[in-house]
Amino acid sequence: MNIFNFDQTFEGLLTLVFESYRLKLFPDMIMGRGENQSFLFSDPVFIPTESEKAERVWKKIIEKTSPTNGNRIYIAFQSELPGTPKLIYDYIKLMTDTQQSIETDFTLPPVMEITRLFNKVAKETARVRMFTRFQQTSENSYYASVMPEYDVLPLCIHHFTDRFADQEWMIYDLKRDYGFYYNLIETERISFEKLPVNPVNGQLYESFHNPEEKQFQKLWKNYFDTICIKERKNYKLHRQMLPRRFWNYLPEKNG
């Protein structure tokens, strides 16, 4: 049984594809994030990441199908769901082994599976764009905590950088412990040992808040409560559109 492991980056996975073809060794299993069980009969082979090899696979994907499809694979990868690396491997293999493009042949299980995964991650990306809430800091910059189900923060950064171009901000993924910081010129990825943030509600400690911050949160909650038409209450729909797992970080659902 061939079991492969890699550093869990997208580049790493593409390198793995390259190496597997070079060695003519095809995986029965690829280990995903956080999977580190031991195996009875064979040890996993660890493939170290090499940008050049990854680059060649990437070019091949785009050549064989389209840039949109390359993007689709990358986004599906961000789901971190178990089995995703192997699914992507199978998909790329199917693509390279067939003459014509299979990009839109949704009757093939890997094609449909990748598309469904892509849709899931895209939905979560959209939700982070919607439900991220900035808090104004005592230094007049803006901070937000997020905790998305999939690793989608990198997919949202372009949007936030374009929209909030004239304010200094940081968005931090408390689940994965990294974030992005925009310094009015560019956005960079950062990690902190310790943040002055309460992980339960995502709020900065009070002393780090701008004096008006709490007032604005209250105003917003006030607006949220007022805008609801009680004759039309539909709690089920509300819960469906605004899933519970986002509530803790939304001022309108707290306080």
Binding site: I102, T104, T107, F134, F164, N222, I227, C228, K233
Partner: protein, 428 residues
């Protein structure tokens, strides 16, 4: 800056604005090139959902809820004894930018009661959005209501600063408007709608010739119709909407089930609850008109002037026209695929792309998001695993099956409406 007064004003003026249904912030795509704050996404983003399940995208607010008019269906009519307040243009723009910077909202939807006269009101509203654009260098989405009766100059000015303008028709027919809002007249509503359409067209031409010409309401115009405050039939409502889409190039027509806010006024019907089901069916029908290639008379007709409340309009259509089915998934024209209940725009895209490679079976369809529960009676494809379609079973049987498949919570409605169900042509 934020004071007790701000809280009071926000509460009063949001309360007064909440019955306006339009909230969509779509229609423009503009990246933030000026280095200020804000951009607009083509598909519009909801930022929250209120407990009635509606999307909160734009901050919907009135500049003032004082009004010199007395429209029967409106909370803000002058004869109502109800708290009144006004923002100054600057207060409003400061509040908007405070919300926007925190990513609470996608932009502003500004309306107002009529102060003194339409011109003065428009001037105040324009001052607020201009302040946002210039002082705050705000580049996000703005939807502004046009006050009926406002002249060309003010409409042109509003369209310079707003992404979308809307003139609410509210009541679909002239007679009923006269009855419920005697101080308004139909022409004073239609005129600005026409004017905006013309300006948008002219602007588009000008921009082809001279690149520096500023955009005029890039996200177009919309309007709202109140449903159930007057006795207008669905055929009247949908024909009007269709005309507005086709002739006036409106981007959206919103339907708002009348909420009995002024129960004391005997000109209005006594409703136990707002006609939400009807509103929902109208939105579905509207969707069919805009994206599915349906005509008004596919959906409603002299014979069936109102939508069937118990079934969605596409199912009703299919049951009234059983001879068009079953549709062969592997060869049918995309426009015909769109007429299959349970198949939506996205599924059609996937089907059309996939069938160029291989034949599609029912398992594929399920994965593509087709609602087989409904679609199965109207399609044929390889390995269906079920053979009976609407022709074999007869429409009335399919109808019964589809209705009984509904959730228990709908059972009450079911009982209510089965007595008024229209017989299908195949029956008669």
């Amino acid at each position: 800056m934020v004071s007790e007064k701000t809280f009071d004003k926000l509460k009063i003026l949001a309360e007064s604005a909440r019955y306006d249904v339009s909230c969509s912030s779509s229609g423009t795509s503009r990246s933030n090139s000026s280095g200020g704050i804000g951009n607009a996404s083509a598909w519009g983003i909801c930022h929250s959902y209120s407990e009635d399940g509606r999307c909160i995208s734009l901050m919907k607010i009135m500049l003032s809820n004082n009004c010199i008019y007395d429209c029967a269906y409106c909370v803000n009519r002058r004869s109502n004894d109800h708290p009144r307040s006004s923002f100054t243009p600057q207060e409003l723009s400061d509040l908007t930018i405070g919300f926007y910077r925190r990513n609470y909202i996608e932009g502003l939807f500004l309306s107002s009661g009529v102060l003194r006269n339409p011109e003065y009101t428009m001037e105040q509203m324009i001052a607020a959005i201009k302040d946002l654009r210039l002082r705050h260098r705000y580049n996000g989405y703005i939807h502004m209501k046009v006050i009926p009766g406002a002249g060309r100059e003010l409409i042109l000015e509003a369209g310079r600063w707003a992404d979308r303008l809307s003139v609410n028709m509210e009541i679909p027919t002239e007679n009923n408007l006269k009855f419920l809002a005697p101080e308004k007249n139909y022409e004073s509503i239609l005129k600005p709608i026409r004017m905006i359409t013309e300006n948008i067209r002219e602007n588009r031409e000008d921009r082809k010739k001279f690149r520096h010409v500023e955009k005029f309401t890039p996200a177009g115009q919309s309007t709202q119709l109140i449903i159930g405050a007057s006795d207008d039939k669905d055929i009247t409502v949908l024909s009007l909407a269709n005309k507005l889409y086709r002739q006036r190039s409106l981007k959206r027509v919103y339907y708002s089930g009348y909420i009995p806010v002024n129960g004391y006024d005997s000109r209005l019907p006594a409703l136990a609850s707002p006609p939400l089901k009807r509103e929902h069916r109208l939105y579905e029908a509207d969707w069919l008109l805009r994206f599915y290639g349906f005509n008004v008379n596919d959906i409603v007709s002299e014979e069936y002037p109102d939508l069937d409340l118990s079934l969605d309009p596409k199912v009703s259509y299919a049951l009234r026209n059983p001879w068009l089915y079953p549709v062969d998934i592997n060869i049918a024209d995309p426009m015909m695929l769109l007429r299959v209940p349970g198949i939506g725009l996205n599924s059609v895209k996937l089907i059309v792309a996939a069938r160029q490679h291989s034949r599609i079976n029912s398992d594929n369809l399920k994965k593509m998001g087709v609602v087989m529960k409904r679609a199965r009676y109207f399609i044929s494809c390889r390995e269906l695993g079920f053979s009976q379609n609407v022709q074999d079973l007869k429409p009335e049987v399919v109808r019964r099956i589809l209705l009984s498949g509904q959730k228990p919570s709908d059972a009450f409605q079911l009982k209510l409406f089965t007595s008024t169900v229209h017989p299908t042509p195949a029956l008669t």
